[in-house]
């Protein structure tokens, strides 16, 4: 896997975009999933994940092939997500899916701007509830929780992705877990 990716990266370095499309093919699900979990919105997730790939392409010469490519890619993706969350600019997509449609994004949209009344939360489907609770987490806990529990990544890799010491990663996972525990105390 790594050998194949490094081969493709060499071709991309020569300017070959077809080789890069193959890389996107391989990593699109992973990166999109992380973005979606962090942002809670399909359109934003697609936009940010694609932007992350574009930045990876532009900066591919800075990638050290002795390292793991997915770590580097996750770093670009999570940084973009964190920036987007912090800006909190009101991005409304008119064609966003509404209640009853597949994906049911209404909750996550509201979650981006504010809290839901408790009785609404209790009526949620499990999938939406998870997404809603994740989106209520402060963004510094959100990234570690998503990477740890949804992507099932080792703590060391999370530390590499977020470029923070292992101890900080652990502390944030602990705090994130405590925050979720409090949020879920009504379940």
């Amino acid at each position: 896997m790594d050998a194949l990716i490094n081969k493709r990266i060499k071709e991309v370095l020569k300017g070959d975009q077809n080789a890069f499309a193959e890389i996107v093919e391989l990593f699109q699900d992973k990166l999109y999933r992380v973005c979606y979990r962090m942002l809670g919105n399909k359109h934003e997730a697609e936009d940010i994940a694609q932007e992350a790939f574009v930045r990876a392409f532009i900066n591919i010469h800075t990638f050290d092939t002795k390292r793991k490519f997915s770590t580097w890619l996750y770093r670009i993706g999570t940084n973009l997500c964190i920036d987007r969350i912090r800006k909190k600019k009101p991005d409304y997509f008119l064609d966003a899916e509404v209640a009853g449609a597949e994906g049911l994004n209404m909750y996550s949209q509201i979650a981006a701007t504010g809290e839901l009344p408790e009785e609404e939360v209790l009526k949620m489907e499990m999938q939406d509830r998870v997404q809603y609770e994740i989106s209520r987490l402060p963004d510094k806990y959100r990234a570690v929780i998503v990477l740890k529990y949804m992507e099932d990544l080792p703590l060391q890799e999370i530390s590499d992705i977020l470029e923070m010491p292992l101890g900080t990663v652990k502390t944030r996972i602990h705090r994130g877990r405590e925050a979720l525990r409090k949020q879920l105390s009504n379940m």
Partner: protein, 210 residues
């Protein structure tokens, strides 16, 4: 509810959940949990959080995601595009390369050689663009005339080649070698190739002589 138990026990719970706990911490935690209902509940809730977050189904990128990325990439340099085309069409590339080299070397050669020129032999006369071997004279060696005519009244002990010109032979003329007229492009090519082959042959001959 206020938790009156020492803080480090909560820390151990997290270490346990991270799969990052030492044996002594684990023993201490287990001993404490068996005797403290509050901490037991805390531990249960934390385990539930993990299960809860992990319960989400895996989602995949929407269709057309890759195309979306490639359409946002900066434009590819044409150099790479050409390289890829060559890579995908090796035969056409070889053919194209051959044609380019052929036309470049041979046709330009043909066109560059539009000037009147001839093999300089001691006893020939030149009038305008015409080479004359006067009557009674004998030329020892080959004569090649390019872009001009040759009139042979005397004798030539060798070959006569006329490129883009004509030959006039008097009744007194005597050429011991071959007489060759070259006027068309393809004759020219043929001549060039034969000359090349002869050069190669003579090269080997001279090698043999050594």
């Amino acid at each position: 509810m206020m938790n009156m138990c020492p803080d480090h026990l909560v820390h151990y719970m997290h270490e346990y959940l991270d799969g990052d706990i030492s044996q002594e911490h684990e023993l201490e935690l287990k001993a404490h949990l068996s005797s403290c209902m509050t901490c037991q509940q805390h531990m249960q809730e934390l385990s539930k959080v993990a299960a809860f977050v992990q319960s989400v189904s895996h989602i995949t990128a929407p269709s057309g995601f890759v195309e979306g990325v490639t359409s946002r990439l900066p434009k590819e340099t044409s150099r790479v595009g050409m390289k890829r085309w060559f890579h995908n069409h090796p035969m056409l590339t070889a053919a194209a390369l051959f044609m380019i080299l052929m036309s470049a070397s041979l046709f330009s050669n043909f066109n560059d050689d539009q000037q009147f020129s001839f093999t300089k032999q001691p006893n020939i006369v030149v009038e305008g663009e015409k080479v004359i071997v006067p009557a009674g004279e004998t030329v020892n060696g080959d004569i090649t005339v390019k872009n001009g005519d040759i009139q042979i009244d005397g004798e030539v002990n060798g070959n006569v080649t006329i490129i883009n010109g004509s030959q006039y032979m008097a009744s007194t003329a005597n050429v011991t070698g071959e007489i060759e007229e070259i006027n068309e492009v393809f004759d020219w090519l043929w001549y060039k190739m034969k000359a090349g082959a002869k050069d190669v042959a003579s090269f080997f001959d001279s090698e043999d002589e050594k």
